[in-house]
């Protein structure tokens, strides 16, 4: 008989299960992207970035003697999101290098003592791909990826087209409807809670209105929906308490939307999320819950 500490029961929703459910909720949007942009322009990019990131992560974890987490699903969410936020038609070698370098660098240098990444590797990769390989990425931008204003194609797409995802953009970010379905599933399962996505979407609308733009258009273009439900909800790099999350979501959205609108930089969301990530450990120290029966706050507990 086992004599272990209480509790003696455990919920069946374990880490692996959670991670595969998140991936499943991303799949509809990813599949749509593959269909819409064509397998030739998407599958090599997806597999190259995913492969590069997974191998790099496993390698670095082994080197640092951290537990190798590649097989419990968690890194897969990150790398799937990374793949989905790449422009279709990107040189697969760049996708591979971007995924590998970003994940490797984050896992090697930007972690807590227990091996938790402080930055979202997918977003670091996206930023890296755009700045490091500036030429192909900006060329691509001129082709119309991810810019808020659809270029060159004559009449602007209708709201319906935007909602369905019939527009230019990264592989997995265009279809608002399928992303909402996936996000709704995660909310329903209790895997994510509503505070982060809602704060993010409110932030987008507020910024858009402030800049005198059409908020619907800004919600439905770029990576707003993907970011709200799947990127800033990354548990590892977002704050732990509800007020912390609301502030984080809102601030990230504001920065992201501002960058996206006022520059032609196609990775506004990624840059903003990475900036937000830097603030997360600080937020977690400062914005904590009040402890029952006291006026004090819970917090990092060292003397």
């Amino acid at each position: 008989m086992i004599v272990s500490a209480s509790p003696h029961v455990r919920r069946s929703l374990g880490k692996k299960r959670v991670m595969w459910e998140v991936i499943a909720s991303l799949l509809p949007a990813a599949i749509f992207g593959v269909w819409y942009f064509g397998p030739a322009a998407t599958l090599p990019q997806l597999s190259a970035s995913i492969g590069g990131a997974v191998i790099a992560q496993g390698f670095v974890e082994r080197l640092r003697h951290h537990p190798v987490t590649v097989m419990d699903g968690a890194p897969w969410v990150t790398v799937v999101i990374l793949g989905m936020s790449l422009p279709p038609g990107l040189n697969p070698l760049i996708a591979l290098a971007g995924g590998a370098i970003a994940t490797g660098v984050v896992k090697a240098f930007i972690t807590t003592s227990t091996g938790r990444s402080l930055l979202n590797p997918a977003m670091v990769a996206r930023v890296l791909i755009v700045s490091e390989f500036l030429v192909p990425a900006t060329t691509f931008t001129v082709d119309g990826v991810s810019t808020a204003t659809p270029l060159a194609s004559g009449s602007p797409p209708s709201y319906l087209d935007l909602f369905l995802g019939m527009r230019i953009g990264s592989i997995g970010e265009t279809t608002a409807v399928l992303l909402l379905v996936g996000g709704g599933y995660l909310l329903w399962r209790g895997i994510i809670r509503w505070h982060l996505p809602v704060a993010y979407l409110v932030g987008v609308v507020a910024t858009s209105l402030l800049l005198g733009r059409d908020p619907f258009f800004d919600l439905l273009t770029g990576a707003s929906i993907l970011t709200a439900f799947f990127i800033i909800t990354d548990p590892t790099t977002s704050p732990a308490t509800v007020p912390g999350r609301v502030g984080f979501g809102f601030a990230t959205a504001t920065i992201a939307t501002f960058i996206r609108i006022t520059t032609l930089f196609p990775t506004g969301e990624a840059l903003a999320v990475v900036m937000g990530n830097f603030a997360t450990p600080f937020i977690d120290r400062v914005v904590t819950n009040r402890v029952y029966g006291t006026r004090r706050r819970a917090g990092r507990a060292s003397a």
Partner: protein, 440 residues
């Protein structure tokens, strides 16, 4: 019946009460030998008042202590004292115990009933409760007479009778509230009298409508429905914890390290209320209690009336076991204590005995924390368990004040929801003992 709304993010625990909640309480046959520990409560261990060879009847005093915080112990069978020695304690370690051979005659002692209880003062009533050895029948087991004696100057405006049984599997309190509603209400009346409180709230989970109805009827029959309210609470595991219950019923928080009487409340568990009623009305000492016996390893799960001092072995033998048993627990699966030695006896705070299979307990290896903060969302106290665990494991020095470790009442929710299977409670407990040791 008023319904209190849920106010926190709490996961619905799988209740797993189907097997026992509908089953009426049955007496379990008494064993040939009982071992009755001389401490079954918080406080001082009793001195034995009998010697090997003495004849005892049910209800005879066998242990008492001059200390204020203590509770008398009584024989639960009639027969001959075999030994005054030691037995393993379900809370760990060994404890002094009186071992009695049961002669099977079930002879009772001459019960002492308070003369004219209705006219008696608080002290006389408390003395009756103390004489009967009543101590908390859920949780840690605080002596009831002490709990009903708040420090001079405290004004108690509300008595809370806790019929919440959030722990999965357990339904002994549910059955007691249903089957002994009159005694619950009577116990509540005595408690109000003793502490001078004008009002009682009996807190019942909203899905136990049968018990709630029975309690309301009993209150009407006793003519106390104007001062005694049955309140339906959300079905939520943590809602029954004393701290949370006081908060959700009265909006008051028990200060850290404080007691309910600090905020004008005295609370007792429903089974304890029944024991109080029996102590005052019948002069009957606490010698038996209802426990839930359940889990996949149990052939005939149910609620059983068991003599104090009956070994777990005897109980499990009577109800039959099946299959591989992963662990045997005293109490519920969230806060109960796994037993290594089944010769441990049933004691006053034993709410149940669970024999769980490995599929039920579902312990899986720990993986790295993903910072999902589910532990933070569910903590009823507002702690950040993953932080605590990080710090404790890093070996950084801890202070009780800064860490709030002692505000954790080890409800187990953080651990239950953690997708990475981190043994949060175990680590928090080790942090607490590190601090306690460094204080010595």
């Amino acid at each position: 019946m008023k319904l209190v709304r849920r106010h926190r993010n709490v996961p619905a625990l799988e209740a797993r009460k189907e097997a026992t909640a509908g089953a009426a309480t049955e007496p379990l046959s008494a064993p040939d030998v009982v071992a009755i520990p001389l401490r079954q409560h918080i406080g001082e261990t009793c001195e034995p008042t009998v010697r090997a060879g003495d004849r005892v009847r049910i209800g005879d005093l066998i242990g008492e202590s001059p200390a204020v915080v203590s509770a008398n112990v009584h024989a639960s069978v009639s027969g001959r004292v075999r030994d005054v020695g030691a037995c393993p304690h379900p809370l760990g370690g060994d404890i002094g115990a009186v071992v009695i051979e049961n002669d099977g005659n079930d002879e009772w002692t001459d019960l002492y009933v308070v003369p004219d209880p209705e006219g008696a003062g608080s002290d006389a009533l408390r003395a009756a409760i103390r004489r009967a050895g009543v101590s908390g029948m859920a949780g840690a087991g605080f002596p009831a007479a002490v709990k009903l004696d708040p420090p001079a100057g405290s004004v108690i405006d509300t008595v809370i009778i806790n019929a919440m049984e959030g722990e999965p599997y357990l339904s002994a309190d549910h059955r007691t509230a249903l089957e002994h509603a009159d005694a619950v209400v009577d116990g509540a009346r005595w408690i109000m009298r003793i502490v001078g409180a004008p009002y009682t709230v009996i807190a019942v989970e909203s899905d136990k409508t049968d018990a709630a109805t029975a309690l309301e009827r009993a209150a009407e029959a006793a003519g106390v429905s104007s001062v005694l309210e049955v309140r339906l609470m959300p079905r939520d595991y943590a809602a029954g914890a004393e701290k949370i219950l006081v908060q959700s019923i009265l909006g008051r928080e028990i200060p850290g390290g404080g007691f309910p009487h600090d905020v004008g409340v005295v609370s007792q568990n429903v089974s304890t209320a029944v024991a109080i009623s029996q102590a005052i009305r019948l002069g009957r000492p606490l010698t038996e209690r209802v426990i839930t016996v359940a889990g996949e390893g149990v052939q005939r799960p149910g609620n059983y009336l068991v003599r104090i001092g009956t070994s777990f072995d005897h109980v499990l033998e009577q109800v039959g076991t099946i299959g591989d048993i992963d662990r045997v627990i005293m109490g519920g699966p969230m806060m109960g204590i796994a037993q290594g030695d089944l010769s441990v006896p049933v004691i006053k705070p034993t709410t149940g005995i669970l024999a769980l299979s490995s599929t039920e307990s579902r312990r899986v290896p720990e993986v790295a924390c993903i910072h999902c903060a589910w532990c933070v969302e569910v903590c009823p106290i507002g702690l950040m368990p993953f932080f605590l665990v990080d710090v404790i494991r890093s070996g950084e020095p801890l202070t009780a004040e800064a860490s709030h470790l002692f505000d954790c009442f080890e409800c187990g929710l953080c651990d239950y929801v953690c997708p990475s299977n981190i043994p949060l409670v175990e680590v928090i407990r080790s942090g607490k003992s590190t601090i306690s040791e460094s204080r010595r």
